[in-house]
Each structure stands twice: as C-alpha cells, then as structure tokens.
C-alpha cells in the first residue's frame, strides 16, 4: 500500500498564499467586502487555534476552505435568525376566502412598451444594484448566489445548510420584492 506525501501547515505564509483565494470564495457568496474580510480573518484565527487537528491528508488550502465553509454557514445562520428585520410584503392574500389570490394594489401593472430596449441601458444595472440593496440580507445572499453567481441549487443548499424548498421560497420572495422595486423605479409608465 502506498502513502501519498503528508501535507503540512505554515501559518506564516497563509496570507500570501491563500488570502486572495479565500476572499474570492467568500465574496462570491457574501457580497460585502467588510463582512468577507471579517469572515476570512475568523477563518485564519480558527485555523491557527485548531492547527493541531490538521492530519495532513488534505492540502493546506483545502483544509482552510473547510473551515471557511463552516464560518459562512455560521454567518448565514446568524443573519437568518436576526429579529426585527422587515419582512418582504407579498402579493397575495395569505388567509381567508381569497387566500392565494392577488391583492388588488399588487396586481402587475403594464410596463412601458419600450422596456425591452432598456435592457442595454447602463443605468438599469444601477437600479438593480439599488433594489438589491433593499432586500433583507438573507434573501440577497441566496438570490445573488442563484442568479448572479449561478450556483447549482444543491450547492447553495449545502453551503448555507437550507433545504431546496426553503431556497425556492426565498427566491420567490426576493424576486417579488425586486420586481416591485424595479416596477416603481424603472418600468412604470
């Protein structure tokens, strides 16, 4: 039986060798520079603390990423359970006789016929960015991962420790709020 070479850790080189990689990994999931910076700092600290647990079976980077993944889940859990956040207003009656039907003032209104051409407009990206900023963070993270970074559903579910039905509810709510925001700021006649 052959043994592959054991990997070793060298914390003095971590920043130089891995900080860009860890940062890119984080920022493509959590689109906030300061938060991403804090998360990778926590990752390096946790790695240092736990370096005696490193068995050398995986590379240094793989090991750091496994710690980072847990930090990202922790962060998502934290914001997911944060109280007092404004909930997204939905388009439908949630109970009573009209449950599941459109609330009158939320019925889609017709948009300017020129909107299709507007897609090339640079200003539209700014409007989208702004509307994304109004989303509760837990919705923005999932929406971005799915729509902008185009992760597979399964991957997002694993990385944020949520179920796929949970994911689709979040996507639905995020798109509902974005739609309303863009309708008001961009598409309305």
């Amino acid at each position: 039986m052959s043994y592959s070479k054991k990997h070793t850790l060298d914390p003095t080189n971590w920043i130089e060798l891995h900080s860009d990689y860890l940062y890119n990994y984080t920022i493509s999931r959590i689109n906030n520079h300061d938060v991403a910076k804090d998360i990778i700092q926590d990752t390096f600290f946790a790695a240092l603390k736990g370096k005696d647990n490193f068995k050398g079976n995986a590379s240094e980077r793989t090991w750091l990423i496994s710690i980072l993944k847990r930090k990202i889940i922790d962060y998502y859990r934290k914001i997911n359970s944060a109280k007092g956040k404004a909930e997204v207003r939905m388009n439908f009656y949630s109970d009573g006789e009209r449950e599941g039907q459109w609330i009158e003032e939320r019925v889609p209104s017709t948009w300017d016929a020129e909107v299709e051409k507007d897609i090339e407009n640079e200003e539209l990206s700014k409007a989208i960015e702004k509307c994304l900023g109004f989303l509760p963070e837990k919705y923005a993270i999932v929406f971005r991962m799915k729509t902008i970074q185009q992760f597979e559903t399964e991957e997002i579910c694993n990385e944020l420790a949520i179920t796929s039905s949970n994911l689709w509810v979040i996507i639905h709510r995020a798109r509902t709020q974005l739609r309303k925001c863009l309708e008001d700021s961009w598409f309305k006649n």
């Binding site: 920043i15 600290f45 889609p108 902008i148 974005l178």
Partner: protein
C-alpha cells in the same frame, strides 16, 4: 391540477432557472391560460430575468479583491497570534 396565483407565480419564478418539474410546468401553463394577471406576471418575469442576466455580466466584470492594506492588517493580526 388547479393552483392559486400565489403558487403559479412561485413556479414561474422557479422556471426562470429552468428548474420547475414537468408537473409544475403543466400546472403553470394551465393557470397562465386562464389567468391574465399571472400571464402578465410571467411575461414581465422573462424581461426581469433578462435584466438580471445583463446585470450579472456587468457585475462579474468587476473583480473584487483584498487591498495591500487589507492584507497587511490581516498579516499583523495573525502574526500577533502566532
């Protein structure tokens, strides 16, 4: 087979990522055939998806990275713990 507008728009959102099941698509199509409001929602949703795609291309051109200063800060904090 009949679904509410709430359910229909939810499937419609899922379908923007081509991930609605065959059964969901059948339910959605029947609903869209009968409901004008959701028909408009669905049509506009396609426009929105195009917009998000466009935004995605703009966004992914902007590379984000750690500055030299960020790295020095990290380096110093880590060194202090070594």
């Amino acid at each position: 087979m009949k679904i509410s507008c709430d359910k229909a728009t939810k499937i419609c959102d899922k379908q923007q990522y081509k991930e609605a099941s065959l059964w969901e698509k059948a339910q959605l199509n029947l609903h869209l055939f009968l409901c004008k409001k959701c028909g408009l929602y669905s049509k506009q949703n396609v426009v929105l998806t195009k917009c998000y795609n466009k935004y995605k291309n703009v966004e992914n051109r902007n590379t984000k990275c750690l500055s030299k200063e960020d790295k020095n800060q990290l380096e110093n904090k880590l060194k202090a713990k070594l």
